[in-house]
C-alpha cells in the first residue's frame, strides 16, 4: 500500500495515499467532529463540522473529503477552527426545533453531542425565521419531523445510494430546502419499503419509528389478555449496545430475562419459526424443482425486500417463496396451535414481536396474515424500542441473569439464529435441503461458508447428489436490483436466491441500535454483529432446522407434513403487484 507522511497537530502520521484527513487523524487517535459524513454513503463535505486548518491552504478544509498528501501539515483544534465549528453549529441550531428534554434522540443525538463537545453556549444566538414543517406520519412504520432535520442528507443518501430507491431528497433551495418526497407526497403513497435505513443513519430526532410501546404495556396490565412475545435472532446481537456493551456482544440470555421482567406472559424465540420457515421453504423449493415450479425461488423473510419486489419487480412476485416471514409464522402458530394447546381464545392473545426491523410494522398490516381470523401479530417493536422500554421499566440490564426462552416455541437451531446475517437463510436452507436430498444421513454438511460475509452479492454452486445447484445471496436493495436484473435478462440461472432488504441482513436492520457515525465510519458493524450469531450457531449442538424438537412436535401434533394443506393455510401468504409510482392525481 502506498503511503504518505504528514503531521497532524504536530504528530507524525503515516497514512494510506488515498486517505482523507479525517481517516489519517483517526490513525493518530485524533477525533475530528463530523455530522453529514457517512463513509461510502454520504461523502459530500456539506456540514462544515470537520473543518481543519491545512498549512498553506486558502481557507479551512473539510477533513472528511480532503485528501492527504506528502508533507502536509494539519491542525484540527486551533482557536480559529474551534470558533468556526461552533459558529456553524449555532447557525444549524438556529433553525432546529430544540426540545431535547422530550426528544426521542435525547442522550443519543449526534447534534446534541456536538453542541456539548464544541462548547455551544448561547444556542439561540442566531435565532430568527424558522421553517415550520408538517410532520409526515403517513407511513406505517415511521415519522418524519423535518423541524429537527439538519439537512445532512444521510437519509436520502442511504435511500438512493444503498437501497436504490430514492423516495426522499432535497426539495426547494436555500432556507426553504427540505428533505421530502417528490411533490411532498406522503411517504405511504411512494415506493418507500419501510426498511428504516434512513432512521438508522439520521443523526438527530428527525426520523424515528412509530411506537406501540404504551399499547403493549396496557395489554400486559390487562388481566383478560395473554401477552406473548418473540424476539428475532438479530436482536440478541445488538441489544447490548444500548447498554454500553461492545458491538457484537451476544445478550440472548439477558434478552429473555428482560422480556420476562417487563411482564410478558410467555417469552419465545423467533428462532423457532425460523426453523419452521426452513421446513416449509425447503419443501417448497424441492417441490418447485421436482414439479417444474417457478425458479429461481426467492426468500420471503424480509418485508422490506418483499415490498421492493412488488414495486420494482412485479413480474417476479411468483418467484417469491409463499412462506410467511418467521415473525408472521410465529404469530400464526401462537394463535392457532398454541392457543388450542393452552385453551386460549385467539382473540385474547396479544402477540408482540421484537425485531431488528421497521418493515415488520408494515408487514403485520398486510393482507393474508391472519391465520386464526385475527391478525397473526398485534405489535412489533424494534430493538431500539425494547432498549427504551427496559430502561423505562427500571431493569438493570447488565446485571440480569442469563435466562432461557419458554417452551414450547422457545427452541431454535444454530441454523435459525444465523437468519440474522446475510446468507444465513440460504445456509440454513442448504443444510436441510442437502440432508434431505442425500438420503437424510448423519454427517451431512453443516457450514456453507461461500454464502457468508458482508459482500453485497454472493454466488455459489453446490454439487448435491450429482446435481449442480446454483445459489445467490444479495443484501441491500440496490444489490438486489443488480442481481435480479441479471436474472431477468437471462444472464444467470440460479435455483435459489436469498435477498435481505438491509445491507448485511437483519443485524444491520433499520430497527437496530443506532451506531454513532464516529464509530460506524471506522467499524463494519454488520460483520461484528454477524460474528455473534455465527458463534451462537457454532456453540449449538443442534445445527439443523429439522432437528428442532418443537418444530417436529408442531408437525406431528398439528400440521402433518411440511407443505400440507393446513401448513399452507397457516404458514403461507400471497403478494400483490405494485407500481413504482402509486400517487393519485
Amino acid at each position: 500500500m502506498e503511503t504518505v507522511n504528514l503531521k497532524i497537530n504536530g504528530i507524525d502520521v503515516t497514512a494510506p495515499k488515498d486517505a482523507t484527513i479525517l481517516e489519517a487523524a483517526k490513525l493518530a487517535n485524533i477525533d475530528i467532529p463530523t455530522l453529514c459524513y457517512l463513509k461510502d454513503i454520504n461523502e459530500i463535505g456539506a456540514c462544515r463540522m470537520c473543518l481543519v486548518e491545512v498549512k498553506g491552504a486558502r481557507g479551512l478544509a473539510a477533513a472528511c473529503v480532503y485528501p492527504v498528501n506528502e508533507g502536509m501539515e494539519v491542525f484540527t483544534n486551533t482557536p480559529k477552527v474551534l470558533e468556526y465549528r461552533k459558529t456553524t453549529l449555532k447557525l444549524i441550531l438556529s433553525d432546529h426545533k430544540r426540545e431535547c428534554l422530550s426528544c426521542v434522540r435525547s442522550g443519543q443525538c449526534e447534534l446534541q453531542e456536538l453542541s456539548r463537545n464544541l462548547g455551544v453556549d448561547f444556542e439561540d444566538q442566531f435565532d430568527g425565521a424558522k421553517n415550520v414543517s408538517e410532520i409526515d406520519d403517513s407511513a406505517p412504520h415511521m415519522i418524519r419531523d423535518n423541524n429537527k432535520c439538519v439537512l445532512c442528507r444521510r437519509c436520502s443518501a442511504v435511500c438512493e445510494n444503498v437501497q436504490g430507491i430514492g423516495v426522499i431528497g432535497a426539495n426547494e433551495r436555500g432556507f426553504a430546502t427540505e428533505i421530502a418526497s417528490p411533490f411532498d407526497l406522503p411517504l405511504n403513497t411512494t415506493s418507500c419499503v419501510s426498511c428504516g435505513q434512513c432512521i438508522a443513519v439520521c443523526p438527530t430526532g428527525a426520523l424515528y419509528e412509530k411506537t406501540n410501546v404504551d399499547d403493549i404495556l396496557a395489554a400486559i396490565a390487562d388481566p383478560e389478555k395473554h401477552v406473548v412475545v418473540q424476539a428475532a435472532p438479530a436482536v440478541r446481537a445488538a441489544l447490548g449496545e444500548e447498554f454500553g456493551l461492545p458491538i457484537g456482544t451476544n445478550v440472548e440470555g439477558k434478552l429473555a430475562a428482560s422480556l420476562r421482567r417487563i411482564g410478558f406472559e410467555k417469552v419465545f424465540d423467533t428462532n423457532f419459526s425460523a426453523d419452521l420457515t426452513i421446513m416449509e421453504e425447503a419443501n417448497e423449493l424441492l417441490e418447485r424443482v421436482t414439479k417444474g415450479g417457478k425458479l429461481p425461488m426467492i426468500t420471503s423473510c424480509s418485508p422490506g425486500w418483499i415490498k421492493y419486489c412488488e414495486h420494482y419487480f412485479p413480474d417476479m412476485t411468483e418467484n417469491l417463496s409463499t412462506c410467511k416471514s418467521p415473525q408472521q409464522m410465529f404469530g400464526a402458530t401462537v394463535k392457532t396451535y398454541y392457543a388450542e394447546k393452552m385453551g386460549w381464545d385467539p382473540k385474547s392473545i396479544v402477540s408482540v414481536s421484537v425485531m431488528p426491523c421497521t418493515a415488520k410494522k408494515f408487514e403485520l398490516t398486510r393482507d393474508d396474515q391472519a391465520a386464526a381470523g385475527v391478525p397473526d401479530i398485534d405489535y412489533s417493536m424494534t430493538t431500539r424500542e425494547l432498549a427504551g422500554l427496559i430502561k423505562r421499566m427500571g431493569i438493570d440490564f447488565n446485571s440480569l441473569p442469563n435466562e432461557g426462552f419458554d417452551s414450547p416455541l422457545g427452541s431454535g437451531s444454530g441454523a435459525a439464529v444465523i437468519f440474522g446475517a446475510t446468507g444465513g437463510v440460504m445456509e440454513a436452507a442448504l443444510r436441510t435441503a442437502v440432508w434431505t436430498l442425500t438420503g437424510k444421513k448423519d454427517g451431512s454438511p453443516i457450514e456453507f461458508k461461500e454464502v457468508r460475509g458482508t459482500a453485497g452479492i454472493k454466488e455459489a454452486t453446490y454439487d448435491v447428489n450429482g446435481t449442480q445447484v446454483k445459489v445467490a445471496v444479495a443484501s441491500g436493495l440496490k444489490n438486489a436490483n443488480e442481481l435480479l436484473t441479471k436474472v431477468q435478462k437471462g444472464e444467470a440461472d440460479y435455483t435459489f436466491i436469498e435477498i435481505m432488504g438491509c445491507p448485511g441482513g437483519c443485524v444491520n436492520g433499520g430497527g437496530q441500535p443506532r451506531v454513532h457515525a464516529k464509530v460506524r465510519n471506522f467499524t463494519d458493524i454488520r460483520a461484528e454483529r454477524a460474528k455473534a450469531l455465527y458463534s451462537i450457531d457454532e456453540a449449538n449442538t443442534m445445527r439443523f432446522s429439522h432437528e428442532n424438537p418443537d418444530v417436529q412436535a408442531l408437525y406431528k401434533e398439528y400440521l402433518g407434513e411440511p407443505g400440507s394443506e393446513k401448513a399452507h393455510h397457516i404458514l403461507h401468504t400471497s403478494y400483490v403487484k405494485r407500481k413504482v409510482h402509486e400517487y393519485k392525481v
Binding site: 408538517e134 438512493e160 430507491i165 430514492g166 423516495v167 433551495r173 417528490p182 406522503p186 413504482v580 409510482h581
Partner: protein, 164 residues
Amino acid sequence: MSSKICSVPFKGTKEQEAQLKAVINDLRDQRGCLMPIMQKAQAIYGYLPIEVQTMIADELNIPLEKVYGVATFYAQFALYPKGEYQISVCLGTACYVKGSGDVYDKLQQKLGITGGQCTPDGKFSLDACRCIGACGLAPVMTINGDVYGKLTPDKVEGILANYK
C-alpha cells in the same frame, strides 16, 4: 402531509409525449442530461407537472425525487401551467413600499392559490414580478397585459370580476 401536486388537470397529448421521448432519446447518453431534458420538456408542455416529471424519471431510470429536486431548486422550472389570465404583481421596491405585498396576499387569498400556482379551473395564474417601469402608478399589477395601478387590497375583488 398535503402534497404539492398541481390541481390543474393535466392535458398532455400523445404528440407531446412522443416529442418528449424523442428529446430524451436524443440526450440520454449525455452526462448531466437531466437539466436540458427538463428545459425541453417545459418548452413542450409549458410547465412540469408530476405526469411529465414521472415520464422523465422512468425514461432515465432515476427516482422521481431526483427530477423534482432539480425542478424545485431552479426558479426557471414551473410546476403549474399559466392560467387563461396571467396575473403578475410587481414586488419591486417602489411598489412594495407602496403596499403591493398586501395586494399580492389578497390575491392569493381570493384565488386560493399561492404565488407560482394556477387555479384548478385553469383560469388565473399568479406570479410576482420585479419592476415593470410603472413606478408612478405603484403599486402595480398586470393581467394579460392590462395594467392596473394605484392598487389597494380592496380593489382586487372588483378587478377579478372583470375576468370571470
